[in-house]
């Protein structure tokens, strides 16, 4: 059976509060799909609508082409991994894992066998007789995955399952999760507010803001070709310049900003340029796109003064003051073993290429 997940015009309302606003999403079978957004953007609510704990106020949820309206969570081909895992504390590890089989009336010996297989898969062989509290955080995490997989779902739903782990373990579990997904080959729908998690693991990411899907794309497209100001400001770091479009030529626009005219690539949405002359616009430039101008070729040049330089090992973070603005520009330079060659406080010129800057219509920004 195909296990495409399809959301058609899904609205979810709680009284006057709209948690999801006309969401249309197509998730292919076997895909690792993430919903990325700040807390409170409605991503968990959407997940609950897919898992069946919540009925959408309007629109349809389809799994494998079947309308899921009126079908409870116990009858859907989905399994949910909770943020706090929700392992049963009074059952042993193997009983936890095989709970879905117990529900179906499978005999004990067979349940035990299946649990052992899954323990093998999550690299915890022979740990079935322990209690969950005897395991470490990462191990419990893997038990929760095994428990969900034991139900043999077509779609696995994960609600920020890594948020309780420490940084190192989180990074390790990212690789682990991706590997497990590729081994079992089922659809994973992953909820997170951590863009690192979303970008590293997912085939596609939907960026959400206040119940609205801002953009659906793969990680590098989101990072390099954001379609809205929110995506540009939420995914990765960006320097923002406000201004007004002076001129549009082909795929590029010149925007008059407080640091002078900036030539930038115009963002397109479904092949159409989003800006016209005299419109208000944002220009975003990534810190790593900025360079010191030492006679090289640059489309844009900005006069600035070095406020502070931070050494991060692989990178130098340089913070620059510009005229007419209290917002500092951040520039990231790869540490190539040489010194920066500029003193703190000295006046410099920084530059960047037009195709590395993006001009977008003004809109809501991510909170800093």
């Amino acid at each position: 059976m195909s296990a495409d997940v399809q959301l058609d015009g899904v609205w979810i309302k709680f009284g006057d509060f709209v948690a999801a606003r006309d969401v249309n999403i197509q998730i292919k079978e076997g895909e690792f799909f993430s919903f990325l957004g700040p807390s409170g953007c409605g991503k968990t609510t959407l997940l609950r609508a897919v898992s069946g704990f919540l009925e959408p106020s309007d629109g349809t949820v389809r799994i494998g082409g079947d309308d899921m309206a009126g079908i409870g969570p116990n009858k859907r081909p989905t399994a949910l991994i909770f943020q706090n895992l929700a392992l049963f504390p009074l059952m042993t590890v193997w009983e936890n894992i095989a709970f879905a089989l117990e529900v179906r009336g499978v005999r004990r010996a067979e349940r035990r066998k299946k649990a052992e297989e899954l323990l093998e898969l999550i690299a915890l062989p022979g740990q079935g007789d322990k209690m969950c509290h005897e395991l470490s955080g990462g191990q419990r995490q893997r038990v929760a995955i095994a428990r969900a997989l034991c139900a043999e779902p077509d779609v696995l739903l994960l609600d920020e399952p890594l948020s309780a782990l420490d940084l190192k373990l989180r990074q390790h579990m990212r690789t682990e999760l991706r590997a497990i997904q590729q081994r079992v080959g089922i659809t994973f729908i992953y909820i997170t507010h951590d863009q690192g998690e979303a970008l590293t693991m997912s085939d596609h990411v939907a960026v959400m803001r206040e119940g609205i899907i801002e953009q659906v794309a793969d990680g590098s497209t989101l990072y390099d070709r954001p379609e809205t100001a929110f995506v540009a400001s939420f995914v990765g770091e960006n320097n923002l310049f406000r201004g007004r479009v002076a001129e549009v030529t082909g795929e590029q626009a010149v925007v008059d900003t407080n640091v002078g005219p900036i030539r930038a690539r115009m963002a397109t949405h479904e092949g159409e340029a989003q800006l016209k002359p005299h419109e208000e616009a944002f220009v975003f430039v990534r810190p790593e796109s900025l360079k010191f101008v030492n006679g090289g070729e640059f489309d844009n040049a900005i006069q600035a003064q070095i406020h502070q330089q931070e050494f991060e090992g692989n990178l130098w973070q340089v913070f620059l003051d510009v005229a007419n603005s209290d917002k500092r520009i951040k520039m990231s330079l790869v540490n190539d073993g040489r010194s920066l060659g500029h003193e703190t406080g000295s006046d410099v010129t920084i530059g960047f290429k037009a195709e590395l800057a993006v001009a977008l219509p003004q809109g809501p920004l991510a909170a800093e």
Binding site: S51, G52, F53, G72, P73, N74, K75, T78, A79, L80, F82, Q83, N84, A86, F88, P89, L90, M91, F99, A100, E102, V103, R104, R147, A148, A151
Partner: protein
């Protein structure tokens, strides 16, 4: 740590005035209020019932007379038992078990609803409406039940009006009123331990079980009940002990032909004017109920410490 330095530290932490108060209060509570009455009862139960003049005299010696009486009565013949009292004793314990199980069955859904389903103001309103009736005196409540279950009471009237009964049913003679009254008397002591236990259960666990296809029945038996076991045992212990030792409800609601064991104890103290025998009977009841609770805990694998939590 030696006691001397322990006390020094205790006074250092609490100050002299407060420290003294705590020590005196705790000592008063333990010795005067808990230990001494029980010790007197135990002592009483092993002495002959003597007129005041002879107390402390040559005849005032320890005896098993009252315990023998409870089992054998004043029987002269071998192999004859005090069937009247023993029957009442057995019936009291059996009825207390029945009332406890009935309360558990009744309160579990209520406690689950309050703890996991009801939200905010509605839940608080329900808790309040459970508590308020208990502001009314116990004896008044029992009389209210008597009126309700009487031959001309609300229940008989309703059953006759709807045609279920042709003539009034004597709920009091048949002890239904007694069981209903006893069941209601200690219902809060069942609800609140259950509520506390179920309330601390993570909602996600119920959802997780549901997500994996479990029916509601299985969710309760596999997830909620095991988690609430300490609360269940705590509630059952309280209700069982208090029901077995109840006096007001049996006095007022009991049928003419039925006695509660506490009523026999009361009779020995009051009408029989034999405090020694009354003490022995009371201690028999106390010891038996404690043993039964401990056996039940062993069977259901509950630890005493968990129950008190």
């Amino acid at each position: 740590m030696n006691p001397r330095s322990y006390f020094q530290r205790f006074f250092l932490r609490n100050g002299r005035t407060l420290g003294t108060f705590i020590l005196v209060a705790v000592a008063f509570w333990i010795f005067i209020m808990i230990l001494m009455p029980q010790i007197f009862m135990v002592d009483f139960s092993f002495r002959h019932a003597l007129p005041p003049a002879k107390v402390g005299g040559a005849e005032d010696v320890y005896t098993l007379e009252h315990y023998q009486y409870a089992v054998y009565g004043s029987a002269k013949a071998e192999g004859e038992y005090n069937t009247v009292d023993l029957k009442v004793f057995g019936r009291t314990l059996l009825a207390a078990i029945f009332v406890t199980l009935f309360d558990l069955a009744l309160c579990y859904p209520i406690a689950y609803y309050l703890a996991q389903v009801a939200s905010g103001g509605w839940g608080r309103l329900m808790v309040l409406s459970l508590i308020v009736p208990f502001w009314v005196n116990e004896i008044l409540r029992a009389f209210a039940f008597r009126i309700m279950f009487g031959t001309t009471g609300v229940i008989n009237s309703a059953l006759m009006a709807t045609g279920v009964l042709d003539e009034p049913y004597d709920f009091i003679r048949e002890d239904w009123a007694l069981y209903a009254g006893l069941g209601y008397a200690f219902i809060l002591l069942m609800i609140f331990p259950l509520y506390n236990a179920i309330e601390s259960l993570d909602k996600n666990q119920i959802e997780a079980a549901r997500d994996m296809g479990a029916s509601w029945l299985r969710i309760h038996f596999r997830v909620v009940v095991p988690f609430a076991k300490p609360g269940i045992s705590s509630g059952c212990t309280m209700v069982f002990m208090l029901t077995a030792g109840a006096l007001a409800a049996p006095q007022i609601l009991g049928g003419p032909s039925s006695l509660w064991f506490t009523q026999i104890v009361f009779q020995w103290f009051n009408q029989g004017n034999n405090w020694n025998r009354g003490s022995a009977y009371a201690l028999i009841l106390l010891a038996s109920t404690i043993v039964m609770v401990l056996i039940a805990m062993r069977i259901f694998k509950v630890k005493l410490g968990e129950t008190i939590r």
